[in-house]
Each structure stands twice: as C-alpha cells, then as structure tokens.
C-alpha cells in the first residue's frame, strides 16, 4: 500500500495551527469564490451543450482545488501550460469570462478565431499558451519555456498540468527527464482523477504512485490530496518557490476525482459505480474549503448563496451577449497558417472564394 497523500484540512473544516497562515483570509475567499464561479460555469455550459448551443464541453467539477490551488501559487505572468480540464486556473488568472465563452462558441470575438474545439484555450495576455488535443505535448514545452526563463533571467516559473493517463505518454517521460537534466524552474502537476475517459488508473500503471516516478528523473515528487486546497497550495507553493530559487523542478501528483463525464461525448455510468462517485462526493473540494472558511469565521451559508447567485446572474447576461456575435469571417479560415500566405494556399483561397461567390444563397448555408 502506498502512503496516504499529504492533506491539511480536517473533516470538520479545521486545520493544524502550523498551516493556519498558509493563505490569508482574502486569498482564501478569492479561491472559494473562484471555485463557485467554476461550478456555476460548468453547470451552465454543460446545459448549453445539451441544448445544442455549444458543440462540446468538458466539466472540471471535483478538481477545482487542484487547478485553483496551483494557479494561486504563481505570479500573474508565470506561464501555465494547460491540459484542458483546468478552467479554474484560468478563472483565478483573471481571464475574462467573455473571452472564455467566446472561445467555447467559436465566434468572431474568439482570440483563436473559432479554430479549435471548446476548452482548447489560449490567452497570451494571461500567459496561457495554446492547448491541443493530443495529450502530453505541452509538457516538453513547459520545460523549454522554463529553460528560456532561466537563460534570459526573467525569473518566470512554468507550471504544467496533466492527467494521470497522460503520464503514460512518451512526452511525459521526455519532459520530466529533460526538466531534471536541465534543472529548469518548472512544476508539473498531475491531476490524478482516476480515469482517462473510461480507462482506470490501474490500466495506466502498475505503480502505486505516479509521484514516485519523480525519483527516476532526479526530481522531487510529492503526492497530495488534490481536493484539499490548502494541501495543494502548500505543495505547489513550495515547489514554485524552490523553482524560482534555482532549486529545480518538482512533480506533484494531486489525487482527485472527475465527478462528471470525461466530455459531453462520454457516459461514465457504464464504467464506474455510483458508490465510488458518492464516496468522492464526501471529499468535494468546494464543500471542504467552504467548511474551512466557516471554521475561520469568514464565510457563512448566506455569503455562499449570494456568491452563487451573483455568479449565475453574471453568467446569464454573458451567455446572451456572447451568443449574439456572428461566426468568424470566412477570410480567417485562410489566415495565420504561416507569417505570409503561401502561393499554394493563396490559389486555394481564390478558388474557394470564386465558388462561394458563384452560389446564389448566403455563405451560412454552406454545409
């Protein structure tokens, strides 16, 4: 049996005295409110997908302590290399909600010009590089960015998220190996939520701990309770501090649970039990942080309800606004492939525009 993961929060919301000042009241409430916003957005976007108004969505319910707890350890300009299920990190960073929703819808206000499926984020202004679907590809990028930060002396620390399934990818191995060899200021956080779509962790690895792999790469490894925001903040905070101080990279395995489906195209009832989900429900990160805030005396039911209500109102107004924007212009389909359009693409573009112009109906009708 492996050791129980590092945790701080007690069941009743209390915590050991030594961790009492890990987060100031204000920071703790901000994390709590971000979690609530995350949950409201998840529910709303899931509903929009079910109604056919969003093409696709992935909830992050149950994993908010890992994503938000990690993000709050960084400076605002430290890059976060996302996997995809880390909405909480974006929200903590302060990425505007309309920028997020415009990406989901893929309208003409989307910074990525409607080119990617929902949840494939990219917000350079907020140091969020681009997300892609092949999992693990971002991990060597995080190492390279950290190398650049070290060489240029910018002081940045990079954070990269991945799921436990991604720890089976070659890019995971090479990234951690490179990070160790080059001693870069990077922190890798595994959201071990138990499942890669339907495949349980036991099929990904025979090892009892993914954090244990750190040793094989010459990194520090830490296995923590990913539903305990204080434990996440403590571990990632220390890793970030060490990275910034030139003490090299860390691998953190945060144990959590994907409460919802993998994506809107998935049905988890066919591969996991209600009992299991119910057991994890007891460890819900929002409820646990809420209890801690109450124990501190900085939050009560009324405050929490008000925050929920505020978020819901904000989101309702936002959805209406973002849905009103039209799709990106046709020209954007052909832009940004290379710095200057190649003659080959230019010829294809002209031919396609001739076809579009030849039609008697509007472009919107093109299937």
């Amino acid at each position: 049996m492996s050791q129980p993961p590092f945790a701080i929060l007690n069941e009743d919301g209390s915590c050991p005295e030594e961790f009492g000042e890990l987060l100031e009241d204000e920071a703790l409430l901000r994390a709590l409110d971000t979690m609530i916003l995350n949950r409201v957005l998840d529910e709303r976007f899931l509903k929009l997908q079910r109604q056919g108004r969003l093409g696709f969505y992935m909830t992050s319910r149950g994993e908010e302590a890992t994503t938000i707890g990690s993000a709050l350890c960084l400076n605002p300009d430290d890059p976060i290399f996302l996997s995809y299920r880390e909405l909480g990190a974006l929200l903590h960073r302060g990425v505007p909600l309309d920028a997020i929703l415009n990406q989901y819808i893929g309208n003409n206000r989307d910074l990525c010009r409607g080119r990617q499926m929902p949840v494939h984020y990219c917000y350079r202004e907020f140091a969020i590089p681009s997300v892609s679907s092949p999992v693990g590809t971002q991990l060597p990028h995080a190492c390279g960015f950290a190398y650049a930060a070290k060489l240029r002396g910018t002081g940045h620390v990079t954070l990269a998220f991945l799921g436990e399934g991604t720890a089976s990818q070659g890019d995971f191995h090479t990234a951690l190996n490179f990070a160790g060899v080059f001693h870069v200021p990077a922190v890798y956080v595994i959201r071990n939520n138990g499942y890669a779509i339907s495949t349980p962790e036991s099929v990904q690895t025979a090892a009892t701990s993914l954090a244990g792999r750190a040793e094989g790469y010459g990194l520090r490894g830490w296995r923590i309770d990913g539903n305990d925001l204080l434990a996440v903040t403590n571990a990632v905070g220390e890793a970030v501090e060490r990275a910034r101080g030139g003490e090299g990279p860390t691998l953190i395995e945060a144990l959590t649970y994907r409460v919802g489906a993998h994506s809107t195209a998935d049905d988890p009832s066919s591969y996991r039990s209600d009992e299991e989900a119910a057991r994890w429900q007891q460890l819900d990160p929002l409820a646990r942080l809420g209890r801690h805030a109450r124990w501190r005396g900085i939050c009560d039911d009324e405050r929490e309800r008000a925050v929920f209500r505020g978020c819901e109102e904000r989101v309702s107004a936002l959805v209406a606004e973002c849905e009103a924007w039209p799709p990106p212009e046709l020209e954007s389909l052909f832009a940004d492939v290379t710095a200057e359009m190649t003659p080959q693409l230019s010829a294809q573009r002209e031919a396609y525009l001739r076809f579009v112009a030849s039609r008697e109906t509007d472009f919107e009708d093109v299937p």
Binding site: T137, P140, H141, G144, A146, Y147, A148, F178, T338
Partner: protein, 327 residues
C-alpha cells in the same frame, strides 16, 4: 570586395550558425552530440566553445523531447536551431512537429508564433541503409504551417540557413548529407540571406524542364549534360523549397519546353513529384507536349547493398528524358 573563401557545405553551415549565434542573443542550438563534440557531421564544431554550454548544448537522446523543448524555448522568447542527427530519426518528434509546431500560430490566432529551425541531414548515397538515408520531405510538405527547405551547394546552404533563422515560420531544413563534403564553393564570410521560396533556373534549355532539389540537383545537371551529348537542350531548375514551392518558376519553364521531369530520392508514390506534376498540369495543360514524368526512389525501404539501384542516377534520368523528348 567582400571576403570569401572556398568552403564545403559543412563549413558553410557552421559559418552560418556562428554568425547567427553572434548576431542574435536569443539564438540557441540543441541536439544530440552538438555541444562539445560539434555534431556527428561536425556542423556545430567549436560553437559551444565560443558561445557557451547554455546556448549550444547536448540533450538527452530523445528527438520528441528536443523538438518539444525547443518549441517551448521559442514560446519563451528564444530562437532555437535544433539538430536532428539524421532525418531518419525525426519520426519520434513527428507529433511535436506536425501537431504542435506547425499548428501553433494558426490555433492560437497568431497570439503565439514559435519559430524554430530544425536542421537534419537527409538522403542516400553514403551507404547508410534503411535508417541513415531517408528523404522525408513529403511528410512535412503535406503539413500546413511548415516550410521545407533543401539547399544544394555550400553558398546556398549558408544563405538559406541564415534566412531560415530569420524567418518567422518554423523551417525544416533538410541538408543533403551526400553533399556535405562533396565539393567546395566560394562562400562569402559576411552575413547574407537567400530567398527561402524562390526556385533557380540553373541551366537554361528549350527541349525539356528537369526539376530537382538537394542532392539530386547534381544528378539532374549531369543528366542534362548527357542529354546535351544526344542533342537535347534541357532546362534545369533547382526547386530549393518544397513547401511552399515556386510553381511560377516551373510553369514558366514548362510553357517554354512543353515537357517536365522531376527527380527525387524519396519513394515515388505520394512523393513531392506527384504534387508538382499535378500542379503543373493544372496550370500548363495546354502547353504540354508529353506526359509529365518523374524519376524517384522505388516504393521500397531504402536498401543498403543495392542503393545505387535505388537512387536516381544521371543515366537513368537521361534515359527517361530521352523517352520524354521523343514522345
């Protein structure tokens, strides 16, 4: 009068990298054995000693990691030049090149535009067998977002590599290793760049157009000489870049000659020749006097002992040219 010297392709490439490291503080070189040792072909010789082991360095033996890390370095503000030891070993990095590097600008709405040069020796003729001989240009030319550039002599190698380093797109820079030490040419000491997407007419003629790139250019020139001996006047084009490719240059020539033959080492099926033939017939169908033709490697893995029967030779190209002109 600017200084110049006789250099082979390795020396010219080395000089280009030296200039790039000297002028661009963000330039870094990484790859397997590129540091102290200077690379298995010695293209990076002396550069770590001159610019330090933080800017010119060896990596663990993992091509996907090299390209993935370099991409991250580019996102972080550096201008990496990667060496993949042999083009045959680039496939572990294929996902990083095709899914990430090539698509980053597009998928981020140009918020990020990571620029990398991936140098790699390609091609046969050195008794390298299956895994030290391949020509993978078509895989990369098929991927929007990448440039694929292939020099054919030392002067060009230096000017194109410096242009690749200054370019805002990711560049796959395929170095014909058969030509590395094959000959010397006059190469200016100073910094200069050559256009990355302009083909060159290297021999003018009226009877047929012969298109080649990289190591096959010398084969094409020789074939043109053989054809001349038979009374045919063949125009030879060095394509220089296969992505994008200078179709205008080729079409201008074919409109004059009415015939085209393309030569490459890579297997024929779905090779770059097929693309060029299709594009030329779209533009110049009515000017054609004969079916478009290609001389390529066979649809086999690259052989060891019988490589001379695999690689297009001048004699074989001349044989096909004759067929074409007499059509």
């Amino acid at each position: 009068m600017a200084e110049a010297r006789q250099q082979n392709m390795i020396e010219a490439l080395n000089a280009a990298l030296d200039l790039q490291l000297g002028r661009e503080p963000g330039a870094v070189i990484l790859g397997e054995d590129v540091g102290h040792f200077g690379g298995v072909f010695r293209v990076t010789r002396g550069l770590q000693q001159k610019y330090g082991s933080e800017r010119v360095f060896d990596t663990p033996l993992a091509e996907a990691g090299i390209v993935g890390m370099a991409l991250g370095m580019a996102l972080g503000g550096l201008r990496p030049v990667v060496e993949i030891q042999f083009a045959d070993f680039i496939y572990p990095a294929f996902d990083q090149i095709v899914s990430e590097l090539a698509k980053y600008r597009y998928r981020s709405g140009a918020q990020y535009a990571p620029q990398l040069v991936i140098r790699t020796p390609y091609g046969g003729g050195i008794r390298g067998g299956l895994y030290h001989s391949q020509s993978p240009e078509a895989y990369f030319a098929h991927t929007p977002g990448l440039r694929v550039v292939i020099p054919s002599d030392p002067y060009q190698a230096k000017g194109l590599l410096l242009a690749a380093c200054a370019c805002d797109d990711p560049v796959i820079f395929l170095e014909p290793k058969r030509l590395y030490r094959a000959s010397k040419a006059e190469v200016p000491d100073e910094y200069y760049t050559l256009p990355l997407d302009r083909a060159n007419v290297v021999r003018s003629g009226v009877d047929a157009t012969l298109v080649a790139y990289g190591a096959m250019l010398a084969v094409a020139r020789e074939a043109a000489m053989l054809a001349e001996g038979e009374g045919y006047d063949v125009e030879v084009i060095d394509l220089v870049s296969v992505a994008p490719y200078d179709l205008d240059c080729v079409v201008r020539s074919v409109e004059k000659t009415g015939r085209m033959l393309i030569v490459h080492e890579a297997p024929g099926s779905c090779g770059f020749g097929g693309e060029l033939m299709a594009a030329v017939q779209e533009r110049a169908f009515e000017r054609l006097e004969a079916p478009l033709a290609r001389v390529t490697g066979h649809d086999t893995p690259f052989p060891y002992t019988l490589e001379a029967h695999y690689l297009p030779s001048a004699e074989r190209v001349a044989f096909e040219l004759r067929r074409l002109v007499e059509y």
